[in-house]
Symmetry: C2
Subunit: 238 residues, 2 copies
DNA sequence: GTCTATATATCGATAGAC
DNA sequence: GTCTATCGATATATAGAC
């Protein structure tokens, strides 16, 4: 932890706008081969970082996961931490858009349903991404401070205005919009982050699509009813 | 990772019943001084493991956190992993009891309210414990396999029967009891585990008791209404 | 029981051949 | 761009004086 300043040109502290800020100074226009290799490394790294965390993952593991020598990873990304922040970037760009189901023209019921469905799809299809993000926030979000405090906060503020508008127009019951988001994130992401616990409690080797369906139905039930939108709920969630 | 078999007498694999199974063979009856020292180490370790994870925490950090030389920690616990599993133990014993608010004689509304309140109190008063647990599950729960699959599963099965009974007697709407637990855990624990994200979105340095109160009220609202228990909800959650 | 000093392993990162 | 070999730093764990 003392050699942090030695070579790394990217650390949590100097992440600026964060998005569209490559961790490594852009070299010459990349060849297709190079782009492919980088993509493979990032995909493999997402899984390794999800399973071991930043500190727990070793360059040897990361290299083995994508079938390359360690030196190649250093060639492309410089340091382990730089590779990690690039993995985080790809996750963030993937995520911010989901909330756009929530816009003034939509009905609260349709918007919340679509948002929950999208978030559950993310947990089902990209569980490693969710775990990397969860691990980062869990340990203080030191590599995400600017993202959380600037871009995410801005997005949430924007969506909170939409929800406040729905409430003012009497379209849904009054609830705190930001805490509603906190709970939506918690309920949907837990199906990716805590799958080990769920599988153990359910006595299954791993979660299946049926488990996700039951969970999504229950989340919908709680949220829609909790917001006063559950008047014509069809069926139950089991 | 190759020297795992060298000295450690406790690893995730050979945790038996887990509770009441000391990680280190019990020495002679402990003196008050020794018990105190062990308690201080465990308390400090909970915080360090919460902030850095098992892999990220170093013996030097752990030693500094409790003001002792590294060698003393090795004297009491043998290995870092053994110290970690003991920290996990103390957390588990603290947690299993909260669910006992849910028993057949209670009303669903009172039981769920008490359970949510207890879980939120845990997130507020023992956030480090929650984070250590979250980190462990996030990375596959390799040190908790037997606990999750035996004791926790047994407890959840038991409480699921209680909830099924309430449903059968028409005291609450039909919901999947196990997934209800998953969501209750997610919503309450997120106030400990993801506090960094919440603080950033809310633009505050850290969460205060008011934030916990708003969160608890909203969780109550969603759960009680979602279970058909919200007929006479007093007030709103903001 | 407590502590300093140190052995040994492993990690991140790099040098330099190809 | 790719890879092998290796350096230097840091980590866990222990030896042994007190």
């Amino acid at each position: 932890m003392k050699n942090s300043q030695k070579k790394q040109n990217v650390s949590g502290a100097d992440l600026g706008v964060l998005l569209n800020t490559p961790a490594v100074p852009m070299r010459q226009p990349r060849t297709t081969r190079t782009t492919q290799t980088i993509g493979q490394i990032l995909a493999a790294a997402e899984r390794v970082f999800a399973e071991a965390g930043l500190a727990g993952a070793t360059m040897a593991q990361l290299a083995a996961a994508c079938g390359l020598p360690k030196a190649n990873l250093h060639y492309y990304f410089g340091t382990k931490e730089a590779l990690y922040t690039e993995v985080l970037q790809t996750i963030l760009t993937l995520w911010l858009d989901a909330a756009d189901a929530i816009h003034p023209a939509a009905s609260p019921r349709a918007a919340l349903t679509a948002y929950i469905s999208a978030k559950m799809a993310h947990s089902r299809t990209r569980p490693y991404a969710s775990k990397v993000f969860a691990n980062e926030v869990l340990h203080g979000a030191v590599h995400l401070r600017s993202y959380l405090g600037l871009e995410l906060r801005r997005k949430v503020d924007e969506k909170a205005v939409v929800i406040e508008g729905w409430i003012t127009r009497g379209l849904m019951d009054p609830v705190d919009p930001r805490h509603l988001f906190f709970l939506l994130w918690a309920m949907t992401q837990t199906y990716a982050d805590f799958d080990a616990q769920m599988a153990a409690v359910l006595a299954v080797p791993s979660l299946g699509s049926a488990d996700f369906a039951v969970g999504e139905a229950l989340i919908l039930r709680l949220v829609l009813r909790g917001c006063g939108l559950g008047h014509d709920l069809k069926g139950t969630d089991r």
